[in-house]
Symmetry: C2
């Protein structure tokens, strides 16, 4: 099975038990809607790639970890799209969850998905309890407070933003979770994998800033110009399009250099480049550089 | 230390690490605000009482479980109060989280507290990994979909409500979690403890319906008449005040009869009666029976 097939199979399996006959059907449908069809599935792809590079001796555990990470990510998207935050009508080219269902169901879908993310790892404890607990510890650390994506989003409600803590938590956290959970799922020490995740997260942030400026709404599958409209800090507003592109290249080089020594080192370097190519739009210099 | 001191100490300890210097301070404050000062702390009190009745041989694990359960409950209150649900200005006699902070911070506080609830048990795995995993499994089962409090709240968005699934999930779930987690924390099989939790949950639901009709806003610490206003099913609208009071007594008798045989059986029966006395308002028959 390809990495992508493994991920889709694992996500579908994780969501299946939420569609039972005792479940409220609309909320069950909202959970499924929020997670499928997916975007690029970048985080679970990184996770699975790192696990493979480390030997992937417990593939069922890797798959459970990949599904949990992506489900947590989808939960954050559902809540970020709410009227109180981005008030986004579109996500991944279709109506956001609160538009397609309702605001109450979007709040509950996010909550249920956060819990489902942990549940998948709790069930995976029967495969290997020690690794499962380690995976849960990484996931909670990088999702909640004080260092996870909730903290990252929380910085947007502060008058004085700690920009480095903001970016590390808001975008970096789930990429760090991806590399560290991949290593942990394969029985390796997750600690040396933090830097790779952090650098991929930085690259993603810069690529996202570029996409926000360079792509149109149809290509992006969600509204463009959001950073500018919401006054959010952006690499493009700081460095311009070409400066941001150069920075992206430098970060990617650093990411590749940071890959810990392991059997799949070369494969991982290629994965980083492939991911970057998928994410970063080609710079069209005839577009306005704003 | 009394049960109540144990619970407060454990909750404060669980929240302390969310106030670190890398955390966005307002969100950190919102988490603390959402959990303290507490209400009656009924769920963790039941959990700790059951653990004590079963020997409580790992009190640190019991305390972590009690804190996690209460934190999950507080998370659900923060989200239930949001404008998209009850739009409540008051909770526990002070402004609800979205009124005191903001709607974005209330959404994030709820999310962060759900994650913190799991985090507390993940950290407790160092005390006893097998029991900690069992505790997490109970907590996730009774919080998420398809049988937990998210599912219960989700039923309110359905055109056709499965009333029994609705009550079991909306109110019963965290009481079942309380009795089962108490047993699991003390190393006992949680399964026989489900019925006690379910019956306490039913009693709580009827008592809550009575309070909604019989108390005024100041006594209740939140708006009254909510069930009627929101068209929610209620034991009082179904049976009248006296009928609902009689039903409450019958449920409590059943709860006490269902207590599994254990060293602390008599103490637990007393706890059930004490909890009921705290919850159920005295019926004043000169009040309108509506």
């Amino acid at each position: 099975m390809s990495i992508s097939e493994r991920i889709e199979t694992a996500i579908t399996a994780a969501l299946r038990r939420h569609q039972g006959k005792s479940a409220p059907p609309r909320l069950g449908a909202a959970l499924y809607y929020a997670c499928t069809p997916g975007g690029a599935r970048i985080r679970p792809t990184i996770l699975t790639s790192v696990a493979l590079a480390c030997g992937d001796d417990q593939p069922r555990l890797t798959d459970a970890a990949a599904a949990s990470l992506e489900i947590m990510h989808c939960a954050s998207l559902v809540h970020d799209d709410l009227p109180a935050f981005d008030d986004a009508d579109l996500r991944r080219g279709k109506a956001s969850v609160h538009r397609a269902f309702s605001e109450p169901l979007a709040v509950l879908a996010g909550d249920s998905l956060i819990i489902a993310a942990f549940e998948g790892l709790i069930r995976a404890a029967e495969i290997d309890p020690v690794r499962a607990i380690q995976l849960m510890a990484i996931l909670s650390e990088r999702s909640g407070m004080p260092n996870g994506i909730c903290a990252g989003q929380g910085w947007e409600s502060e008058e004085k933003i700690d920009l480095s803590a903001y970016h590390r938590a808001k975008t970096g956290a789930l990429f760090i979770a991806a590399t560290q959970m991949g290593a942990a799922a394969a029985g390796q020490d997750p600690e040396p994998w933090e830097e790779l995740g952090a650098r991929i997260g930085e690259a993603f942030q810069v690529a996202d800033d570029l996409r926000d400026v360079l792509l149109d709404e149809e290509e992006l599958g969600k509204p463009t110009g959001q950073d500018d409209r919401l006054g959010r800090p952006s690499a493009v507003s700081e460095l311009g399009v070409e400066g941001a592109s150069a920075r992206l290249d430098a970060i990617l080089a650093g990411a590749i250099a940071s890959i810990p020594s392991c059997p799949g080192e070369a494969m991982l370097a290629e994965m980083v480049n492939r991911t970057a190519a998928k994410l970063a739009p080609r710079v069209k210099t005839d577009r306005p550089n704003s």
